[in-house]
Amino acid sequence: TSNEPAEEETPAAEDDGGGEAGGGANDEPGETVVIGFSAPAADHGWMAAITERAQEYADEHSDIDLQVAEGTNDVNLQISQVEQFINDGVDAIVLLPFDGAALTEVALEAMEAGIVVVNVDREFNDPNAARVTVLGDNYGMGVSAGQYICEQLGDNPDAIVAEIAGIDSLPLTQDRSQGFEDALGECGLDVDNRVAADFTIQGGTAATEQLLAAAPQIDAIWNHDDDQGVGVLAAIETAGRDEFFLVGGAGSVNMMEEIQNPDSIVEATVIYPSTQAADGIALARLVVQGRSMSDLVEVEVPRLVQLYAPVVTADNVEQYLPTAFES
């Protein structure tokens, strides 16, 4: 079935991923670490992958006891989940907040309670609220996408560029769009049509159909999110349009397969790693067990890890397929 590959590939990926990062010693089981994990509702593939990768990583390590709280987009509920973790006196909390600012205070409480807090993806607005912060690079995503499109269209200043954003009210969407705009600005292009979907397939289809109806001629489209990308492609196919090329975002398996397919309009996608939370768990474990990232000379785990947002094209797609997520 469609989700089998994930089961097969991901563990492998994690293992050598873990190997490279942690070296032999760090894989030795240490004292058991109780880790509380809370993330937004897994209402699309990438978020689902985030949670599952975390779960898988925990399952592979006998010394991790992972407590997963109901995924929610209600900060009120997420706060009370963290409060519960504090009550239960877990060793570490890995937190992918629905809204970083809103969970800062409770994260601080956790830190004051002597719990190791690892902040993933959406940043708190107080550095002291987390021992380690693992960030994707949303602004960077936009920049990479923009730069790629510039390379392709740079020579033609009045090319039509369209953008299909994700949930518009999320700061991360704002960042992506900002980066995209700035990068395009570098080569004198701008966003001519912009629609926002909601990370869902149906949203992608609806938004894209409207977009295509509104813009009879397009040269390039950047779609923020490969989950909604499925819907975006469906809409494009329905409309029978192919005068443009499409750049994706996040890096799902089926997008990469599209990239491999020469006569698909999908030329590239910008990775937004779905392994962040798993990395967060890994780091939390190391911190609690007082270990270090053994490839680094530093004896402590660093406090900020920002993941890179590379562009995947037909040239390097094989390299990224293994760690891609099933949308």
Binding site: S2, N3, D43, G45, D168, R194, T200, Q202, A214, T238
Partner: protein
């Protein structure tokens, strides 16, 4: 049943007369015309705005088709909802039942065994899954006496969860060429799903206005106790209504697959609100007893055109929301003005 007087009198006699007037205006035919006239005017106004802001192409074939495609799925759901609301109920679960059906059908389709089965099997599965959910709703409401709002709210939550379990939160990509060939194909310039909507709407109209089933539905919504004492099997009928609504949600699930080439547990999220809004703006009474398929279809088209106009003008989502809120209210107010006028005549 000496207990009934306590429950039956409608919240507001006068308001209800008022409302009824909206619908009947003393005499039938006339007001029906007026009410729909109000909606038609609203729709025309929207198109005018569209043409002014984004040129005559707005009413060009392409854009019309785009609007219809967008409307089709909500439309099919709204037809089912019209029946449920006419009978005085409500179904909050249509959206997630749609999602569940889409996932179920596609997992079936993506299973090797089913790869070469005919797509009819898939469609049937989806419709049956939907009908089953509707049956649960109906039984809980009609026999378990659970308030419709709560029973279907529970189904909303549960169906979504089940869909996630089945799909493992993965999109089930469609691997059935027969299906694609039929469902994603165009026929007289319209994609199949648009035709499906058209057919469902027509059948729905006939069912509600020309059959005993429709008449019973109106009776149950208008005064369930009277219907019961006149020998109508109110509970059984109510159950069937929710089954119908569920089955249509299942069909909508198939249409969603056709549209997106995938089944996903996120399909149909929050559709319930759009659907109910379309039905009520169309002129069906939430207190039951009066329903109009034509109005519902117009309501659906108005909302579809609305968001189309918005995108055409590249409005920010936020501005769209504010405008949308205002327009909903204006549409309803306009509608009432005309209905009131019709009562005077």
């Amino acid at each position: 049943m000496s207990g009934t007087p306590s429950a039956t009198p409608p919240p507001v006699e006068s308001a209800r007369v008022e409302e009824a007037a909206l619908e009947t205006g003393g005499r039938f035919a006339s007001s029906g015309l007026w009410r729909n006239l109000g909606l038609v005017i609203a729709l025309v106004l929207l198109c005018v705005v569209g043409i002014i802001t984004s040129g005559p192409d707005f009413v060009g074939g392409n854009n019309i088709v785009t609007i219809l495609r967008y409307a089709a799925i909500i439309g099919v759901l709204s037809i089912g909802m019209t029946f449920v609301i006419t009978a005085g109920g409500i179904d909050l679960s249509v959206g997630s039942v749609l999602g569940l059906a889409s996932v179920w059908a596609t997992t079936l389709a993506t299973q090797t065994i089913a790869a070469n089965t005919h797509w009819i099997v898939m469609v049937t599965t989806a419709v049956l899954v939907g009908a089953a959910c509707g049956l649960v709703n109906g039984v809980l409401i009609a026999y378990g006496k659970v308030v419709a709002f709560i029973a279907t709210l529970a189904m909303l939550v549960a169906a979504r969860g089940l869909a996630e379990i089945i799909s493992g939160k993965r999109n089930q990509n469609l691997e059935n060429n027969g299906f694609e060939a039929f469902w994603r194909d165009d026929f007289l310039g319209m994609q199949t799903i648009v035709w499906v909507f058209a057919v469902v709407a027509v059948l729905g109209w006939v069912l509600l206005n020309r059959t005993t089933f429709g008449r019973r539905t109106i009776a149950v919504g208008g005064n369930a106790e009277a219907a019961r004492l006149a020998g109508i099997k109110v509970r059984a009928h109510t159950t069937w209504l929710y089954v119908l609504c569920g089955a249509l949600a299942g069909l909508a699930g198939v249409m969603m697959i056709a549209r997106t080439t995938t089944g996903s547990s996120t399909h149909g999220t929050l559709y319930e609100l759009d659907v109910i809004a379309a039905v009520v703006v169309g002129g069906t009474l939430l207190i039951g007893g009066r329903g109009t398929i034509v109005g519902t279809v117009l309501g659906v088209l108005i909302f579809a055109t609305l968001s189309n106009v918005f995108t055409q003008n590249n409005l920010s989502i936020s501005v769209q929301s504010v405008a949308k809120g205002a327009i909903i209210v204006l549409a309803v107010l306009l509608q009432q003005q005309l209905a009131a006028r019709s009562r005077k005549t």
